[in-house]
Each structure stands twice: as C-alpha cells, then as structure tokens.
Symmetry: C2
Subunit: 254 residues, 2 copies
C-alpha cells in the first residue's frame, strides 16, 4: 500500500494519461471510477491492476480489497485523478481485456455502430444492447473507444456484460449474411417504418452517426432499411433513443 499526497507525483501523471486512448493502448490499462463501476468490473472478472482510494473512503465489503494493491491518495489527488465533478473516492485501474474474437452465431442478435463519436451515446447504446440481451456490439471505424471514461460511465457497467468489439462493419456484414442473419440498416431515405417490420428471432441492426447517418455502402448491402417515424416537429431522434425503440421492437423474446 502506498500513499500519495502530491498531485505532482509521477503516478498521478501516468494515471491521468489513461484518459487518452493512445496511452490506454500503450499501457494496456483503463480506469473504472466510482463504486458501481468498480464492482461491475470486479464481478465481470476484469483483471484489476490496483485500486486508487481516497483516504477516509468507506470500502464496500463486497470486494476483497485486501487481495489487491491499494494506493491511498489525498482528497486533492483524487480530485486531480477523477473524471467526475464529485468523486466517490475510488478508481479501479484495470487491464484492457484481450482483443475478443467472437463467432457470429445463428439465432443471435447484434448491434453494429458506425461512426458514433459521442461517448455518452455510445455508452447508452451498449447499455441498451445489454438490456435487450444482444449477443455482442461491434464498434466500426470512427466510433469512440469503448474504454473512454464517458463511455464506461454511460454504459453503467454494461461494457463488462457483453462483448463490445472494435472491428470492420463490412467484414461482419459478410459473415452475418453468410449465416443468413437479416441485417437492418437505418436511414430515412428509402426506408420502411419499423412499425411494418415483424419481430425477429435473429438480426443485426446498424446504427450511425446522427449527422452523417450510416455509411451508404453498408446501407446498400443491408437486407432492409428501416427508420423510426417522426410524428411531431423534431427533425430526428437521438441515436440512442431511436436504437432503443428499434431494438425493443425487433427483439422477438417469445
């Protein structure tokens, strides 16, 4: 157990660098902050390097902290390290999981995310995919890194519940189609209202950036293009909201 009281300590600097993707990848580490996320990471068997704990923080008994390296920090250091305005006083320094290879299976459901940059939206998409019980989420190029602290926070731990994989949407589509799993692209143009679509025992849904939408190439290769109709005066829906509506509609749970 070490103690750190100065924000100028090199450990503090090193940990803060983990808010940048390149440093996360170089070090193979990421940060999960707050009681809920720390517990979710622990329960999901994420390899934890150490815990950073603010002095005086009451540690929850559900995690056997004694088996881990602890770094005790002052309130000032925690404030410096934290990505939130009101730190809860605990951060888990976690090892990035090995690149997962998953096999696409018949009878399963997938979400493909094309170029969504907003970390809150991506975290919420992962949380929604988890709630619906999808098999995996694929993040295509141009989508924010899932180990970004805002993605982790918005996912509310769902990032640790199901495979969230960085990959090539085109490659996944080929495999999905080879297996005969229907792919639904999302766009208003040339689209069918989701209300006209039957529930599906297996499917993949592709959602895109709110501004640009889903890449035309993926739309052209989709089996069907669907959208959520607007009945009022909004120009569009938030991508997480639209995805929630589509996933809950498509998802055949009978």
């Amino acid at each position: 157990m070490k103690r750190i009281e100065s924000v100028k300590n090199s450990f503090v600097k090193k940990m803060k660098q983990l808010y940048q993707r390149k440093h996360r990848e170089k070090e193979g580490l990421f940060l999960a902050e707050g009681f809920h996320l720390v517990e979710e990471a622990f329960n999901a068997n994420i390899r934890i390097d150490q815990f950073i704990v603010q002095e005086g923080t009451n540690l929850p008994s559900r995690i056997p902290f004694s088996g881990f390296e602890l770094t005790i920090v002052s309130k000032e250091v925690m404030k410096e390290l934290s990505s939130t305005e009101t730190p809860q006083g605990i951060i888990a320094v976690c090892h990035l999981p090995e690149e997962e290879k998953i096999t696409i299976e018949k009878g399963k459901k997938y979400l493909l995310v094309d170029g969504v940059q907003d970390p809150g939206n991506v975290g919420t998409l992962i949380r929604t995919a988890d709630a619906v019980g999808l098999q995996a989420v694929l993040l295509g190029s141009g989508t924010v890194d899932p180990y970004n602290e805002k993605v982790i926070r918005a996912s509310q731990g769902s990032l640790f519940h199901l495979p969230v994989i960085k990959g090539d949407i085109g490659e996944w589509m080929k495999t999905l189609q080879a297996k005969g799993i229907p792919i639904f692209g999302t766009a208003i143009e040339k689209g069918t209202s989701y209300t006209a679509i039957e529930r599906q025992k297996e499917f993949a849904l592709i959602v895109g950036n709110e501004g640009r939408g889903v890449n035309k190439e993926w739309l052209n290769k989709s089996d069907q293009i669907i959208y959520v109709p607007i009945y009022g005066n909004a120009e569009s829906l938030n991508v997480s909201v639209a995805t929630g509506i589509l996933l809950y509609h498509l998802n055949d749970v009978r």
Copy 2:
C-alpha cells in the same frame, strides 16, 4: 453594432452569468448557441434581444440579421462566452418566454418529468416528446431548468417546438384525471410490462429520476404502472431510452 475584444468587458461577464438559472430569471434572458439553435429560436418567434457574433463568422442568409442588434466579438471573447469546446461563432441572447398556461385537452398526449436532474436527459426527453407529437411536457419540481444550455443543446431545438412548462405534477394529475385522460406511471415494482398495454388515443406518461424513480405519491395516483422489461444483464435503461420506447409504444397514430 458594438465590438468587444476583451474578455474582461462587463458585457461578457453579464452574458456568462446567464449560465446560472437565478441570473436567467433575474434578467429574463437565456442563450441559444450555434447556427441550428439560433435558427430554431428565430423560427419559433422567440423574442431575440441581440446576436453575439464572432468576427469573420459567415451569417446564414435565412435570418434577417440586419433587423437585430449585433455584438461583434473577438475569437477569445467567443471562446469565453461559449458553452461548447468548438464554438460556431454565434449566440442568440433570447428573452425567456412568458410563463405558459396551457389547457389540458381531451384526446391529447402529455409527458410529465419528475425530478430528472441530468440536462442531457431532459433535453433528449423534450426532443423525443416533440418527435412523438405530444401536446406538452411538464417539468415537475427537482427537474433541471429547461433553459440550461445543455438542455437546450440536447433538445436540438425541440424546446422551441412545444410547450415545456415548469409546474406541479400533482396539480396536473388532478386535471388529467378530471378529464378522464389515463395516466401511466413508470416503475418496475407493481408494474406491468408495456408490451401488455394497448396503444392510446390520449395519455399522460410520468417518468422519473434514474436513481429514485417516480415519486411514490404520483405512482399511487396513476391509473396504471408500466415498465420496460430487461432481457439481458443491464440493471436498467437510460431514462431517455426507456421513455422513447414507452412513448412510441403508447402513441396511437392511427
């Protein structure tokens, strides 16, 4: 037309205070930033006090700027005034609308928001209510002010499309029930899955804070309590996502 080049100018200080609710209410003003929101405010006949424009910004021809007071500011001043990391160079200083009194009508649909603090969620709720074509949104006590800059941004202009009213949820419920409009509270406990609920020609939906949920008193007085089932491992859905699913399900557009 005046020019301001110093961030220490008293005008800059006064404008920045509008990021606080108490100053918005004292001055009767709020800020709408960026081309899209400025245009939405203009189109919605929001009374515009003046525009603040960064020097060199290309003004869209769709707004007759010549009819308004313009304050031209340096890049540094705009950066100081802006609530975004990459300012678009335009802010409309708008008058807060008069307190709207709306009459609750048979055959219409309403969203009641109980104690939701997160401005991004409240903005997204307003945007979704607008997309569904609801009649009005009521923000009960404990809910963030709709003229908070993050609410305005997340609402994507929908705040200017339909009445968004601060009020007392208990009072609204009395009026809704006197008119025979069914009220759906949201909670997992004692709730019915939304999938078992018919589409509705008129309704009010009450949604609450993600942590605390909807006030028990309002739940007890609701005609029915509904929820969105979780099929996977997430503990819950984001409130905006759950609300989107419920509103699109309940909304009978036939």
